[in-house]
Every structure is written in structure tokens, then in C-alpha cells.
């Protein structure tokens, strides 16, 4: 239930935050704050995800074995936990991305069709 609430708060369709995080760390291992900033940047400020949503998602993904955390130094030379995608995570991301694209394509088609014939 809580999971639904936090994602609603960030204005995301349920379950998509996990996908976005996976996508973000797919490029390179990143720490928590970095992931939040990156999501904000890529979305051009549309997605502002706070710690209350991010950290439960990290814990969830880590538990499911999709990401893996490792303590490393940041560019500012502080210690932070960097998350990297696991092989299983990569497979999940690929599958979910395909599913997502397929679904959005279908929905888009439906929406367009009804737009033509009111």
C-alpha cells in the first residue's frame, strides 16, 4: 500500500519508478542522490523524486536481486553506496522496456483512433 502512495506522490504510473531507476543505473553505477538528480535532469525537471520514494525502491530492487550496492568514493571524495545493475536486472529492464513500449504503442493507437472518430 505504501508503495502505491509514494509513487503516486511522485506522479508516476505504478511500478515505473523501478524501471526508471534500473534504466538510470544501466549506464553506469550511481549513488542515491545521483540517481535522483539524473532522473530530474533527463526528465527536464518533470520528475522530482524524493528520498522517501527512492530508498524503499532501492531496498526493493536490491532484495529482488536486480541491483547491487557497493560503497565507493564519489567525485567529491565522499563515501557513498553506488548501485549497479545485475545480470538479472539487465534482463528485467530489457523485458519491461519492451512491454512498456508495446503497451504505450497500443494505448497510443487506441487514443488516436478515437480521436479520428469522435
Amino acid at each position: 500500500m505504501r508503495r502505491g502512495v509514494t509513487e503516486k506522490q511522485s506522479g508516476l504510473v505504478q511500478g515505473t519508478l523501478d524501471m526508471l531507476i534500473l534504466k538510470t543505473v544501466a549506464l553506469e553505477p550511481m549513488h542515491g542522490y545521483g540517481i535522483g538528480v539524473r532522473l530530474e535532469q533527463i526528465s527536464k525537471g518533470a520528475l522530482q523524486i524524493n528520498a522517501g520514494s527512492l530508498f524503499p525502491a532501492f531496498r526493493r530492487l536490491e532484495r529482488d536481486g536486480l541491483i547491487k550496492g557497493e560503497w565507493r568514493a564519489t567525485e567529491n571524495n565522499r563515501r557513498a553506496k553506488f548501485y549497479a545493475l545485475t545480470a538479472q536486472g539487465r534482463a528485467t529492464l530489457k523485458r519491461e522496456t519492451e512491454d512498456w513500449e508495446q503497451q504505450t504503442a497500443v494505448i497510443a493507437r487506441v487514443l488516436r483512433a478515437s480521436a479520428v472518430k469522435p
Partner: protein, 913 residues
């Protein structure tokens, strides 16, 4: 799958290394914040502003941590564990309440566990053998397929040795077969008084087909089971119990010998502790091959006679259904029957050939105890369930009262932000703890209870009852389930009620109770009184049944007779001379000083063993074939005088009625009533019907009074008494008969030593055993005694619990209304007014309880039907007596607190406000 596993492992890690997980999360959050501050400073904010903004964006660290923790399943375990610890502390703070609640539940749960354990052992459990589901036994005739039993008297489940030989030839149709004869009490004594040991004759394939291995040594093979003993001579396998009890568990028991009926057997193996044989309710001590019966019983051996002595069991092939196996067996039935045709009984041949074999599942073993106690046990089970319900109501009431006094604590928790669900969970955890405690103590009580129950079972004439009442997984699962259900039953209503609190209550001083007890606890007490009343009524009927049976006129003097089992097996005489030998023993015993009368007979009264015969009565009433049946009893002269049974018409048996004289019989009055409605029997004749063992045509010389031989419950059966001296059945008289001895005065048992000397004087090879007839009668109503004692015990317990329940809520209400009562007294209320105030409400509750209880009892006692004897299910005396008893007890329970209420001192009460 992998995801689930990694979730599970992660949760475990968090559970077992909570600090490490916590610290890491702290570090991570700190790093997050630091990074945020750093970035914001890079954007040009001052350190102070940056820190403030970052903090504001992040929100409460504690809340984030909570959210993270809630991701895994372990958080549930964590909070539950918190609830448990908190619950233990809370309960520990009120030890009196906890002790009463746990003990009440322990009695309820313990009683249920004990009865269930016995039910499990007797009715549910399979035999401790390999794949019991594939075991079936051969029977013929009427069967009860729901209980897998053979229905007496039209069903046959014992077979001749010849039949077994025929089946043995065809074992490959199945996955093995074996035969055994249960119930032999072997004599270990060499002379004089018998030392019985529970023995089994088994075929060589017995242990291997059952899949029972030897714990020590080996079990039998087919080469051990040959007439007269195999290559190793007579060999025996003993049970674990026998090994421990008679050999002290000696390591070198293999090779030692056991002299059974004068034959030396060498021990070759010991069976595992859990194997007790195939008869549930008894435990074998020694098993010997069927083939050794020729050594033990010589001419009487089942291998040389047409005795139906053996049970035959088959192991089905894997996948072979009962129906397939039955078809297979019936296909070879003609060959088996022809091959096993008894010789010398032409009148039996036709029925013998056509009586079809039936297979019955036998994985649960056979059990006469099961048949006898099934109904009784299930009834007592219902009784203990009611006791548990009453206990639940009691504890529920305690919790309700406690909930009221915990209002402040609970509303404080709600005020501090605990959700209602969370508080209910907390209270339910406390209930579960109470039930768990009750279950633990209950298991201990049940352990004692089971041993007590076993002690209630009477020793039989030759066999000692034995039931393995150890707790197995099924019993533990049952207890766990019962305590769960119990906790829910007594816990849920109080928990829901107690949490109906507003946070503001925490701030108020404890509020005043408006009414006595409240409606929930009031209806709980009504239910309690009603349930316990119904239970006490049922118990009353069962106790009366037992009392009635105890005073049934037996038609003989049960307290004046000593029973002696005399065994002439080893007396070196021709079996056909046995009647003469026994007559000699009887005459010698009669001459013993202090003996007034003595007589011999084939059966002992009320031992459960009788024999029947089909009769034709020329010139008598015309009756359907099923009713032309009579008990058949061989006796010596003096029998009626020994037992004090009158001979009403004609004459008694005497010495003239010997082998050479005219064949005669006496009959009882029931026989006359059935076969000679005109009342004239003396001088008429009876003869054996077709299809039965012939006793020839005999003249009735006298009519004796009716007497009970089989069961105290049944109507007096028509009985024919035949003189032992005129034994003319086509096989020799059994070597073991009963001699009944009546003393001139004093205790029958006191005669035993002089009777022993007298018997040994006739032939020192005669073996014997004493038993008082009174014990025998007592044992015959053991099942009724069992039910009466247990239902009586639980009835008293239920009454006590209900009384305590009523007392409890009244006393509690008085305590809570002290100030109100004080004010009333200060304003001039008298003693009587206060009493009326307190008792008034209790009386309403009691009256409702009694009325509902009587109605419930009237509905419920119908189901006791079969267990009752001499009382009707609606016996007015019992109903009235129980109702009066409840009025007395409940009045007392309300009166005591009421009297205390009148002693309230208004000054003290008002000052304490």
C-alpha cells in the same frame, strides 16, 4: 523463484543482523544528505541555506527509514516480536490474571488433547507397519464398509488352518499374505498357577509381509513355520516390551529360551518398540510360528482341527485396487473352498462352498476395543469441546474486564498514533500467548490424563489392555490448532471492544461503569450456564445409566463366586476323557472345606464369550429361521446352586445325566417364552437345526431362571444348558474350562489357596488361574464406567467454571460500582436494596442460562440414545435435579459478592474520590 529466494535471504539477513542493516541505511542516508548539501553549495547557496533546503527536501529521516524497513517481509516479524515481548511484559505484570487464564485454558485444552490422543490412537492411526494402506483382510458375510468391520454374528473373519494353506498356495496373486491368531494367553508356568503372556501364532510370512524388521536378531522365515518347528527348532520373536520387562533389555537375549506351555522356544529376534501386533488395544509379547502349535496343543492344534482360528491378511500389489483383488480372490474361491473343506460336517458343506470371500482394508488393524469405545470416546470428545468453550467464555470475560481497566493504557496508545488494527493485533497476541501457555500446560495435563484414562480400562480375563497413547504429529497439530481457535474465540470480542476507545479517554480520569458487566459479558455468562447445564444433564444421564447397569438383576449371585480357569492341556489324558477329568476336578474342589458348591462350564458368565446354536423345536412355536437361535452352555451338575439361579420346573442336572444316559438339557424361561408359548417345556424335545454342529435330539428336563451371560445391556437370551458329561460335538472338549466355586461364607477369593492345592492334587500338570466373578461383572461394564466417570468429572468441572464465571463478573461489577453503592448507602439505601441491586441482574442472567440450557439439553441428549440404559433421554428426575443444582450454585455465586457490596463504607468510598 530466484527473486523469492533472494527476498527471503535478504529478509533473514536483516532479521539476524539488524544493526548492520540499520547502520548501513544510516550511512547511506547521511551520504545522500551530504551530497545534496554539496550540490546546493555548488549552486551558490551558503552552507547553512544548503543544509536547510536539503533537509526540507528529504523530509523526516525516520519516516524514510520506516518506509525502507517496510519493504521486506521481516518488518512484520519484527513488529510481531515486539508485540510478543510487550505482551509477555504486560501479562507478567498481572500474574494472578495470567495464572487463572492459563490454568483455565490448560484444563480445557488439556482435556481435549487427552481425549484426542486416545481417539487418535484407537480410531485414526494406522498400524506402525510398512505401507499399511495396502493391507487387507479376508472376511465373509455382512461387513460395515464405512468402519471396515465384520458385523457379528453373520460375518466370519477367522479361518481354519486348511483355508490358510489354500490361500498360501496362491500368494503370488498378491504382494504376499500371512495368517495369525491373536489373543492366545500363553502359559509360561511349568505347573500350578498360570503365568500368562500375551502370545501370537503367526505364519512365517507375517513379519516380512508386514514390513516389520527385527530390532535385534531376525524375524521368522517360512522355514521356521513348519509343523513341529523348523531347522532351528521351536523359535520365538519377542516384542520390545517383553524384552525390556522380562529380560531387562539384555543384549544377549538372542538364543535365550522361553518355556511356553511346557515347550522350550529359543528367542531369535526382538521387534521395534512401536510394533504392538495387529490388534489395537492389546500388545503381544511373544510370537511363535503357527507350525509350533502341534507342539503346544498337540491333538487340539489348529493344524489338526477344523477350528476357525486364524485371521488371514493380504498385501495388495502396488496399484492393485481392493475391487481387483476381491475379483482375483473370488476367482480362485472354489478351489480354496474345496481344498479346505472340513471333514466330517456334511451338513455344513453347501453353505461353506457358497459363502463369498470379501476383502476389507486392514491398515488400521483390527480392534474390539475400537468397536466398544468408539461411541463413548466421541461422546466424551463432544463433552470436552463444550468444557473448552466454557473455559473460553470464562477467559473472554476476564479479558473484557481487563480491557475496561486497560482503557487508559489503550487510549494513550491510540492518542500516540497507534492504529486500531495495531492495538487489536497487540491484544490478540496477548490472547495467543495465553492460549499458548494453556496449550503447554495442557500438554502436560494431557500426558497425565492419558495415563489415567488407560488405568480406567479394565484387565480382561486373559489380556491386559494396551494402547500406545504417545503424542505424535497429529496430536501436536491438533493442540496447536485448538489453541489458535481458542485464542481467536476468547480474544477477538474483548480486543475489538477494548479498542473502541477515543484518544480523549486517556486524559479523563477513569470513567464510571454504567451497567453491571455489560451486554457482551452478560451473554457470555448466559452461554456458559446454558452449556454447562446441558453438559451436566448429559453427565447425569450417563451416571444414572452406569448406576442402573450396576444394579441389573443378573439372575445369579455375582459377589459369591470364585472363577477358576482350569487348563488340562498338559494333563496326559485322551482328549475325549476331558469331561470325566473336569468332573473329577469339580468333585475334588467341592470337597474342599469352606466350599459350599462348585461346578464346571465352558464359558464364564459376562465374559463376552458365548456360543450359539440354531435349534428346531418339534411342536413348538413356528418362528422364522433368524429367531430359532439359542445360547448354548455346557455345564456340570451343581451349576445352578453355585450361582444361586433357581430351577423353576422339572429337575436340576445330576450325576445320572452322564455319557451313557438319555441326552437331556435344561432351558431358561426366555427359551420357554420364545419356543413354547403355552408354557409347557418339561418333557418336550429340542434338536439341532440343519447347518449347525449337531448336539442331537434331547429331552428338556427342567426350566431355570433367566440369567445374563453376554451383556448386561441386552435382554435375557434363550439359553440351553447341556451337561458337560454328555459332550457329543464332533471334536473334543476344549482343554480349558471354567470352574465356579461358591464359599459357605466369606470372600470367594479367600478360597483360592485351598482350591489350588485341591486341583494340583488331582493332577499336578493341570494349570489354573483365579478371578473373582465380581471383577468379571465389573469389567463387563467398564465402557459405561469410563463414560460415566469422565462425563461426571467434566460435568463438575463445567459447573465449577460456570459458577466461577458468574461469581467473577458479579464481583467485578461490585468492585467497579463501589462508589455508586457507597453513595446509595450514604443516601439511605438499606442492605436489602443493595442486595437486590446486585443479585437482580445476576438472576436475570442465570434464569436465561438455565432455560436455554434445559432446551439445549433436551435437544442434545437424544444423541446419547445408544449409550443410555434404563433412563430415557428426557429423564425428568435428572432434568429437575440438575436445574435445582444450578439454581443453588448460581445463587451462591451471586450472593457472595452481593454480601460484600453491603459492607461498603460510604465514608471511605467518598473520601477516595
Amino acid at each position: 523463484m530466484r527473486t523469492l529466494l533472494s527476498r527471503f535471504v535478504g529478509g533473514l539477513r536483516a532479521l539476524f543482523q539488524p544493526q548492520r542493516t540499520e547502520l548501513e541505511l544510516d550511512d547511506e542516508l547521511r551520504a545522500y544528505l551530504d551530497e545534496a548539501v554539496e550540490r546546493k553549495m555548488a549552486d551558490g547557496l551558503s552552507r547553512e541555506d544548503a543544509t536547510r533546503t536539503a533537509r526540507a527536501e528529504m523530509g523526516s529521516v525516520a519516516a524514510v527509514k520506516d518506509d525502507v524497513r517496510d519493504v521486506g517481509w521481516e518488518s512484520l516479524v519484527d513488529t510481531l516480536w515486539q508485540d510478543v515481548r510487550y505482551g509477555i511484559r504486560t501479562l507478567g505484570r498481572s500474574p494472578g490474571f495470567t495464572a487463572v487464564a492459563v490454568l483455565t485454558l490448560a484444563i480445557g485444552i488439556g482435556a481435549n488433547t487427552a481425549i484426542f490422543t486416545v481417539i487418535n490412537s484407537l480410531l485414526l492411526r494406522n498400524l506402525p507397519v510398512a505401507e499399511p494402506d495396502r493391507l487387507v483382510r479376508i472376511v465373509a458375510g455382512t461387513v460395515d464398509t464405512t468402519r471396515n468391520t465384520c458385523v457379528w454374528p453373520t460375518c466370519q473373519d477367522l479361518w481354519t488352518y486348511a483355508t490358510w494353506e489354500q490361500v498360501r498356495l496362491r500368494t503370488d496373486l498378491f504382494d504376499g499374505a500371512f495368517a495369525y491368531s491373536s489373543g492366545g494367553a500363553f502359559n509360561l508356568g511349568t505347573a500350578g498357577e498360570m503365568q500368562s503372556i500375551e502370545g501370537l501364532f503367526v505364519s512365517g510370512t507375517f513379519f516380512s509381509t508386514l514390513g516389520v524388521p527385527a530390532l535385534v536378531g531376525r524375524t521368522f522365515t517360512s522355514s521356521d513355520d513348519v509343523p513341529g518347528g523348523g531347522l532351528d527348532g521351536p523359535v520365538a520373536v519377542i516384542s520390545y516390551r517383553c524384552w525390556q520387562r522380562r529380560f531387562g533389555g539384555a543384549a544377549d537375549v538372542i538364543g535365550q529360551s522361553l518355556v511356553i506351555e511346557g515347550v522350550r522356544f529359543s528367542i531369535i529376534g526382538v521387534t521395534p518398540p512401536e510394533f504392538f501386533g495387529l490388534e489395537v488395544g492389546r500388545a503381544f509379547e511373544v510370537a511363535v510360528p503357527v507350525g509350533t502349535d502341534t507342539l503346544i496343543r498337540g491333538a487340539d492344534s489348529m493344524m489338526r482341527s477344523e477350528d476357525d482360528a486364524l485371521r488371514i491378511m493380504i498385501r495388495l500389489k502396488p496399484g492393485q485396487s481392493l475391487e481387483e483383488a476381491t475379483t482375483t480372490l473370488r476367482a480362485v474361491q472354489p478351489e480354496i473352498r474345496t481344498g479346505a473343506m472340513p471333514k466330517g460336517f456334511p451338513e455344513l458343506e453347501e453353505g461353506f462352498l457358497t459363502h463369498a470371500f470379501t476383502l476389507l482394508p486392514a491398515g488400521a488393524g483390527t480392534s474390539s476395543m475400537r468397536l466398544r469405545y468408539e461411541m463413548a470416546l466421541l461422546t466424551i470428545f463432544a463433552v470436552v469441546v463444550v468444557v473448552l468453550l466454557i473455559a473460553c467464555a470464562n477467559v473472554g470475560n476476564l479479558l473484557l474486564a481487563r480491557g475496561t481497566s486497560r482503557r487508559q493504557e489503550l487510549s494513550l496508545r491510540v492518542a500516540l498514533g497507534a492504529g486500531r488494527g495495531r492495538v487489536v493485533r497487540q491484544l490478540l497476541v496477548e490472547s495467543l500467548l495465553l492460549a499458548g501457555g494453556g496449550a503447554l500446560v495442557g500438554l502436560i495435563l494431557a500426558g497425565w490424563g492419558c495415563r489415567g484414562l488407560m488405568a480406567l480400562l479394565p484387565a480382561g480375563l486373559t489380556a491386559t489392555p494396551f494402547l500406545d497413547v504417545s503424542f505424535d504429529w497429529r496430536v501436536l497439530a491438533f493442540t496447536a490448532m485448538v489453541s489458535l481457535v481458542t485464542a481467536t474465540l476468547f480474544g477477538i470480542a474483548p480486543a475489538l471492544r477494548a479498542t473502541r476507545v477515543a484518544p480523549i479517554d486517556a486524559l479523563r480520569h477513569h470513567g464510571r461503569a454504567s451497567a453491571f458487566g455489560g451486554s457482551v459479558s452478560g451473554s457470555l455468562v448466559v452461554a456458559q450456564i446454558a452449556l454447562s447445564l446441558a453438559l451436566v444433564v448429559a453427565a447425569g444421564l450417563l451416571v444414572r445409566t452406569f448406576a442402573r447397569l450396576g444394579s441389573v438383576a443378573l439372575g445369579f449371585d455375582s459377589d459369591r463366586v470364585l472363577l477358576v480357569v482350569v487348563d488340562a492341556q498338559r494333563v496326559p489324558i485322551d482328549p475325549v476323557d476331558r469331561p470325566r477329568f473336569f468332573q473329577k476336578v469339580v468333585d475334588t474342589v467341592r470337597a474342599v472345606p469352606g466350599v459350599s458348591h462348585a461346578a464346571g462350564s465352558m464359558f464364564a458368565p459376562v465374559s463376552g464369550t458365548v456360543s450359539q446354536m440354531r435349534v428346531d423345536v418339534p411342536g413348538g412355536a413356528v418362528l422364522p429361521e433368524g429367531e430359532r437361535v439359542s445360547l448354548r452352555h455346557f455345564i456340570t451338575p451343581g451349576w445352578f446352586r453355585t450361582y444361586g439361579t433357581p430351577v423353576h420346573a422339572g429337575r436340576d442336572l445330576d450325576e445320572r445325566d452322564n455319557a451313557g444316559a438319555q441326552p437331556v438339557v435344561l432351558v431358561n424361561e426366555a427359551f420357554v417364552r420364545r419356543f413354547f408359548p403355552d408354557g409347557n417345556a418339561v418333557g418336550r424335545t429340542v434338536t439341532t437345526a440343519r447347518n449347525d454342529l449337531p448336539v442331537g435330539t434331547r429331552t428338556i428336563i427342567g426350566v431355570a431362571g433367566d440369567a445374563t451371560y453376554r451383556s448386561l445391556r441386552e435382554e435375557r437370551q434363550p439359553t440351553i444348558y447341556l451337561p458337560l458329561a454328555q459332550w457329543n460335538l464332533p471334536f473334543p472338549l476344549n482343554p480349558r474350562i471354567f470352574i465356579s466355586v461358591r464359599p459357605v461364607a466369606g470372600s470367594p477369593m479367600a478360597l483360592a489357596p485351598s482350591v489350588a492345592t485341591a486341583i494340583a492334587g488331582v493332577d499336578r500338570n493341570a494349570a489354573f488361574m483365579f478371578r473373582s466373578l465380581e471383577d468379571q461383572v465389573y469389567a463387563s461394564i467398564a465402557q459405561e464406567r469410563f463414560v460415566a466417570m469422565l462425563s461426571g468429572l467434566f460435568g463438575v468441572l463445567a459447573l465449577l467454571l460456570a459458577g466461577l464465571g458468574l461469581y467473577g463478573i458479579t464481583a467485578y461489577a461490585v468492585a467497579r460500582r463501589r462508589s455508586e453503592i457507597g453513595v446509595r448507602i450514604a443516601l439511605g439505601a438499606g442492605r436489602a436494596d443493595i442486595m437486590r441491586l446486585v443479585i437482580g441482574r445476576s438472576l436475570g442472567v442465570t434464569a436465561a442460562g438455565i432455560v436455554i440450557g434445559l432446551a439445549a439439553a433436551a435437544l442434545a441428549t437424544r444423541f446419547l440414545g445408544r449409550l443410555l440404559f434404563g433412563v430415557t433421554p428426557l429423564d425428568p428426575a435428572t432434568f429437575v435435579a440438575v436445574a435445582l443444582l444450578f439454581i443453588v450454585v448460581t445463587t451462591l455465586a451471586a450472593f457472595l459478592p452481593a454480601r460484600r457490596a453491603t459492607t461498603v463504607d460510604p465514608l471511605i468510598v467518598l473520601r477516595s474520590e
